[in-house]
């Protein structure tokens, strides 16, 4: 007889959602989190997309500690002197609140409390070493030599999944799996945030940028999200390209982003409140591990569930959806034949039926086009050339757009044939 029906490792969005679902269904669940308070080791860029939380907290949009909702989404290509951008600012976001800015230390603590309120037992400040196995079946978790037993273990430990790796359930991470996320939370007043980003009340701006001005091979994206009276600003750096460069410091790139002439005025006068770093899962479907086995399932970042196409970066929604799917799989297994590798196979089926694995399969190979010289160097340079030709009056005869575009390809720094091929691949995969 196990001490618990299920043990959930990790009190982030995936783990808390799983624990809430299990506890509400009357199961005896233990949620283990290494940080105390929960959330205090968690970082994300800061937009929670989608409405997956509704399944476990129907009124979350009104009650959760969210900062603002996405009213405007921006994408910008930064060169040394320019930002060539596109913005989608729309009333459509008022009717369908597609994304919410969140700060994880607050949100995750709230989610864990919700799980507790729903009946989950919560152990914070407790570090799990590995999953305990007996005759090939997960029988609980091991912590400092003790085993806490359960019928099922749900690993939701985040982007640096030590427990899964140390238990042999996931391969060690490599350059293809992760990018380096570095972030600052910068304090301004609510009024200043509203004025600078053209916002009212709870409206927020979420911007992603291609940092085309970085030296040599270094490739990184930047982000800027408005919170209530702070801004979350940061960079996501390709591990592979930083390694190839081998002379640029990760912690300098965020400063270069914040000092860019198009970004600096937006954060000017703000005080840096916090500096943080976190890995971003980028491996795509090829690097998703075996998601379940006899007595265990892996959810959220720990399973490599995230989505990035350069225009949008998502992870928390996949975490919540997969946490709930794992819980539902367990609930169904308990009602039926019990927990076994066969019954937990339903987890993968649920994910295949949902956007979680559908997106990962549909966007296979996306990393090859989001990281590369076309989006990170050629496009920013070419776009700047076109804009310069169109808008900077030089007192010389004007050129047709077609002519500017042809020239722009020449200015882009990569060969035309390569640009056409890469551009085609990019459009197909995005």
């Amino acid at each position: 007889m196990s001490e618990f029906d299920a043990i959930v490792v990790g009190g982030g969005p995936a783990g808390s959602s799983a624990a809430m679902r299990l506890a509400s269904a009357g199961h005896n669940v233990l949620l283990v989190e290494k940080a105390d308070p929960p959330g205090s080791k968690n970082v994300s860029g800061g937009v929670l997309w989608g409405n997956d939380l509704e399944a476990v907290i129907p009124d979350w949009q009104k009650t959760a500690p969210v900062e603002r909702y996405v009213k405007a989404k921006g994408v910008g290509f930064l060169t040394k002197e320019s930002n060539i951008g596109l913005e989608f600012r729309s009333g459509l976001f008022d009717k369908n609140r597609a994304g919410h800015m969140v700060l994880r230390a607050k949100l995750d603590q709230w989610l864990v409390k919700k799980a507790k309120d729903m009946g989950a037992m919560v152990a914070t400040g407790v570090t799990v070493d590995r999953v305990a196995f007996d005759k090939g079946k997960a029988i609980g978790v091991e912590q400092d030599g003790d085993i806490i037993t359960s019928d099922c273990v749900i690993l939701a430990e985040g982007a640096n999944p030590r427990v899964a790796i140390d238990s042999g359930l996931r391969e060690p991470l490599n350059d293809k799996d992760v990018a380096i996320g570095v972030k600052e939370v910068i304090k301004l007043s609510e009024k200043t945030v509203n004025e600078r980003f053209n916002l009212r009340d709870k409206e927020g701006f979420a911007g992603e940028y291609v940092l085309g001005f970085l030296p040599d091979q270094v490739e990184a994206g930047g982000f800027l999200y408005t919170n209530k009276d702070t801004i979350s600003a940061g960079v996501v750096i390709s591990m592979k390209h930083l390694r190839e460069n081998d002379r640029t410091y990760s912690f300098d790139i965020i400063e270069q982003f914040l000092e860019h002439p198009a970004i600096a005025p937006l954060v000017d006068g703000g005080s840096v409140e916090e500096y943080s770093a976190h890995m971003v899962q980028e491996g795509g479907i090829e690097r998703v591990p075996k998601l379940y086995g006899n007595g265990y399932m892996i959810a959220g970042d720990a399973a490599g569930f995230s989505f990035s196409n350069g225009l949008v970066l998502q992870g928390m929604n996949y975490a919540i959806a997969s946490g709930i799917a794992a819980a539902d799989t367990f609930i169904e297994a308990k009602k039926g034949s019990g927990v076994s590798e066969e019954s937990l196979a339903g987890y993968r089926k649920r994910l295949l039926d949902s956007y979680v694995l559908k997106d990962l399969y549909n966007f296979r190979g996306i990393d090859e086009v989001t990281w590369g010289r076309l989006p990170h160097r050629a496009m920013p340079n070419a776009l700047e050339h076109i804009m310069k030709g169109l808008f900077i009056e030089q007192g010389v005869p004007k050129k047709h757009l077609y002519q500017l575009m042809t020239e722009a390809l020449g200015e882009s720094g990569i060969r035309t044939s390569e640009a056409v091929l890469e551009g085609y691949r990019m459009l197909r995969r995005m």
């Binding site: 700060l103 230390a105 799990v128 380096i180 930083l242 390694r243 640029t248």
Partner: protein, 90 residues
């Protein structure tokens, strides 16, 4: 803003008895790239007179170094007893 000043903003509960990351000095000594010194966002890895110096106290527990080190020098375990970095915002 200098990294040292940015790190000084953070709260840590430093574990004096247990280092959650360890490195193998003999591997670092012959390392051709020292990519850890470029990739670690908290500058836990520095070169002093060409010799790798590692301190875990400033670690923000992102896990970058274990991926960055291609030479098997870095051992990474989760911090224990709620030690380590404590974010206010996250």
């Amino acid at each position: 803003m200098k990294l040292e000043d940015r790190l000084a903003l953070l709260n840590y509960k430093i574990d004096r008895t247990y280092a959650h990351i360890t490195v193998k000095p003999d591997i670092c000594e012959t390392c051709p790239d020292h990519f850890c010194t470029f990739s670690c966002p908290a500058k836990c890895y520095t070169l002093i007179d060409g010799k790798l110096n590692f301190k875990y106290e400033d670690c923000v527990e992102c896990g970058t170094c274990i991926v960055a080190c291609a030479h098997g020098s870095v051992s990474w375990t989760n911090s224990k007893g709620a030690h380590g970095v404590k974010y206010k915002y996250g």
